[in-house]
């Protein structure tokens, strides 16, 4: 997945983010890195899927290079409303059509504190976690876990829907 001609700037941006949030507490603040902050060319919605996976692979490579004991998580934010929707996609194209306005982003989590483990936390209710088959994306996603989370934000009443890819 990591091509030989990937500009080093992308790796530099991800590496700087990764090392800084471990140092300054950003991991606990959910300080994520959106793909449009990694590369201006990744601003366009039609390449968010591939950009997200490319960024995820780069981040895993850098995590391993620095021997960091964290899980790299890629998040695709989906449109949501005032009620639950569940997993309403079975193909990559359908998933992409569900993307909301926010570009995909990378998170770092300590082991065993990944999003799928957060089923009872303050500020969120009706938390639903469902596994998603990586093959539906049509790409060789070497994910440890791939899943969908939907929950209701208690303070706003709005639902949040996201697909996460862990590595």
């Amino acid at each position: 997945m990591i091509s030989a001609n990937v500009p080093s700037k992308r790796e530099q941006v991800i590496e700087t983010w990764m090392l800084s949030i471990i140092k300054d507490g950003g991991v606990d603040r959910f300080d994520d890195l959106h793909v449009d902050r990694i590369d201006d060319k990744w601003k366009h919605r039609n390449i968010w899927f591939e950009a997200g996976l490319e960024a995820w692979h780069l981040a895993i490579h850098l995590r391993d290079k620095h021997r960091l004991d964290y899980t790299v998580v890629l998040a695709f934010s989906l449109e949501a409303g005032e009620s639950t929707r569940g997993v309403d996609f079975t193909t990559r194209a359908q998933l992409e059509s569900c993307f909301d306005w926010s570009p995909p982003s990378l998170y770092l989590f300590r082991r065993n504190q990944e999003p799928r483990m957060r089923t009872a936390v303050a500020g969120a209710e009706n938390i639903s976690v469902k596994d998603v088959e990586p093959k539906m994306f049509g790409l060789p996603v070497e994910a440890r876990h791939c899943y969908y989370i939907e929950f209701r934000q208690i303070d706003t009443g709005a639902y949040s829907r996201t697909v996460f890819v862990e590595g």
């Binding site: 603040r29 959910f30 300080d31 934010s77 926010s102 957060r118 936390v121 989370i149 934000q153 949040s160």
Partner: protein, 66 residues
């Protein structure tokens, strides 16, 4: 709030409004300088004094200020 951004009704410095995607994560505003503020007034990324238009817009939408 994102609709307000898209309609040009938010301060120009606001890039977008992000939803909390991880259970426990707050909704947040991304500013064009890269900083991001949570709806409880804590900084998610970066941090700086807010402008008066930013303060007004956030409080009108029920957000807490840093």
């Amino acid at each position: 709030m994102q609709k307000q951004v898209e309609r040009g009704q938010a301060p120009k410095s606001v890039d977008r409004v992000g939803k909390g995607r991880v259970p426990g994560e707050k909704d947040n505003v991304h500013f064009d300088d890269g900083s991001a503020l949570n709806n409880d007034g804590t900084w998610k990324h970066g941090g700086r004094p807010l402008t008066n238009p930013e303060k007004l817009w956030l409080t009108e939408n029920g957000w807490k200020l840093p």
